[in-house]
Every structure is written in C-alpha cells, then in structure tokens.
C-alpha cells in the first residue's frame, strides 16, 4: 500500500526556488509562465490496512513530521495493491 504526499509552499509564503525556476523558464522563452511553486513529492509504503485507516495515518504523518503547515500545504493520495 502506498501513500503519496504532494507538498507545496502555502499561498503567500515566499518560494525562492519557485521564483528562480520561473525566471529561468521565462529566459528560455516560455513567456506565458505566470508563477512556479516548487514543492515535494513523498512516497510512503506501508503494510496493507483499510483505506480509511491509511488516510488517518497519512494525515498524522503529515502533521507530525512531513509537513509544516505554517509554511506548507499538502494533499494525499492512497494507492492500494502496490
């Protein structure tokens, strides 16, 4: 069973990486780039448990360690049968 975490800087929180990447893309001619956010993607493999329970675990993991909600926001996705 796999939990996918998609983490990105919270709105309004400065993202120097995103800004640098946006500038780089524009310098390459991608003039339509309005903004870039650089975040993290984390895969956590766990033993099979009911999906609902896995979601609870995932949010606990996020809140305890994986995400700092003061500066980041996240989404999870549970993939069964991995």
């Amino acid at each position: 069973m796999l939990i996918k975490f998609f983490i990105r800087p919270r709105k309004g929180v400065l993202d120097p990486q995103g800004r640098a990447v946006a500038e780089s893309l524009r310098s390459l001619g991608f003039d339509n780039v309005k903004d870039v956010k650089v975040g993290k993607y984390i895969e956590v493999y766990i033993t099979d448990i009911p999906k609902e329970e896995a979601e609870k675990h995932a949010h606990l993991m996020a809140k305890k360690v994986l995400v700092n909600e003061l500066i980041e926001e996240y989404e999870i996705q549970i993939v069964e049968n991995t």
Binding site: V13, L14, Q17, K40, K64, V65, N68, L70, I71
Partner: protein, 227 residues
C-alpha cells in the same frame, strides 16, 4: 553552572561551541548525543549550528523528532535554559519550543558574513550582560528567513520576545540591512517564558579577538551570570 552541547548527525558547530565554553569561558561542558533520552545535571543545553540530518525534508525537522530533542522539550518545560544557534534555532521551531519557521533566504543564496544586530531586549537571561546597543556577530545560513503569521508577530511584540534584529552598523533596522528577508528583520527570539532562545547569528564565532569580534561572549556570559 553546567552546559551541554547537543550533537546530531550533521552538526558542525558543536566543537566550536564546546571550545568557547570550556577554553574561553572556563565552564563545565559536555557533549550530549542525539540518541540520549535524558538530560541530567545540566543547567543550559545548546543546540549548535550545522546541517543536522543533511537538512533533509526541512532544516531541523528530523532532529526535532530525535529522543534528545524530546528530552530538551521536557527540560525546557521544567524551566531549563536552552539556546538554539542557527540550525539549533530551526530545530527549536520544528520542535514547537519557539513559534514561527525559518524559510529559505529570500534571494536564494547562502549568506556568510559579519552582521550587525540590534539588541531589542536586554531584560532576558541571554542578554542582561550586553553592554552595547549594536552587536557584530557572524551569520552563515541558507534558511534564516524568519516567518510567522500576524497573530504570532503581535504576540512576540506584546511579550517583548523579539531579542535581536538585523541592522546596519548604526543600529538602524532597515530593509537593506536585512540579509535574508526575515519578517521585521528578526534575528533572534525567546519563548514566552523566557528560558528558550533561538538565533540565527553564531555567538561562538565572535568570542575571541582573532575572530574579529567578542560580541558573542555577551550572550554566553549573560547566561552564566543568570544561572
């Protein structure tokens, strides 16, 4: 008066800090490993600078969840004195001993230089011996951009928790003097109770004439006098 310097995998200012306490200030000090679960017979714990756990995930995060840091949380709750320098400050915010977070520097660059700091509050156990209004202490970091929400900032101000701000050599707190984009030039704060201090500058690197400044000693000497 007994100090302990925490050692996490990737700490790299631990020996400098140990040296200053032992050989410059002639005080009792020992290292304390990140796997230790208890802090006994210690008056002040220092979390040193460095890149604990390679800054993986976020600076300070993985260190914040070690047995030692959990023991530091208990130690602080019982009134023990804690100082977090640079990465140590990041660990203290991730362990929720101090409010806010340290974001990457606004310009995306590592900064390493002597920095002027305005002492905003000399009524703390970390600054009571500070004799100058403006200190010169080195900074060296990539993630020193202090961030907090507006309510937290208001609380910090109301309780006089902002201890150091980045400034120019005359003590003016200006945007130009801000090396990393920190909210209101914040360089160091204390918790509400006043026994936990986090700061991005490195006092241990300003503790002998040969290093170009002695101003870091004010902070360590303040703690020694307070305890």
């Amino acid at each position: 008066m007994k100090f302990a310097v925490a050692v996490y995998p990737g700490s790299n200012c631990d020996y400098d800090t140990f040296y200053v306490i032992k050989d410059v200030l002639n005080k009792d000090v020992r290292f304390i490993d990140y796997r230790e679960t208890k802090i006994d017979n210690v008056d002040c714990v220092i979390l040193p600078g460095g890149f604990s756990f390679g800054d993986y995930l976020r600076p300070g995060t993985l260190a914040a969840h070690t047995p030692l840091t959990q023991a530091v949380v208990d130690f602080a709750e019982k009134g023990g004195v804690v100082i977090g320098i640079c990465n140590g400050f990041q660990i203290l915010t991730e362990a929720h001993l101090l409010p806010g977070a340290l974001l990457p520097n606004v310009h995306g660059k590592f900064v390493c230089k002597h920095q002027y700091l305005k002492v905003e509050n000399t009524d703390t156990i970390f600054t009571k011996k500070v004799k100058k209004r403006v200190l010169k202490i080195p900074i060296a970091h990539h993630d020193g951009n202090y961030f907090c929400d507006e309510d937290t900032l208001k609380t910090l101000k109301e309780n006089n928790q902002i201890v150091l701000r980045y400034c120019d050599k005359d003590g003016n707190v200006t945007k130009d003097a801000n090396p990393n984009g920190s909210v209101e030039n914040i360089a160091g704060i204390v918790n509400k109770k006043g026994n936990v201090f986090g700061l991005m500058p490195h006092p241990e690197r300003a503790s002998e004439n040969v290093l170009g400044s002695l101003d870091g000693l004010f902070i360590l000497e303040s703690v020694i006098e307070s305890l």
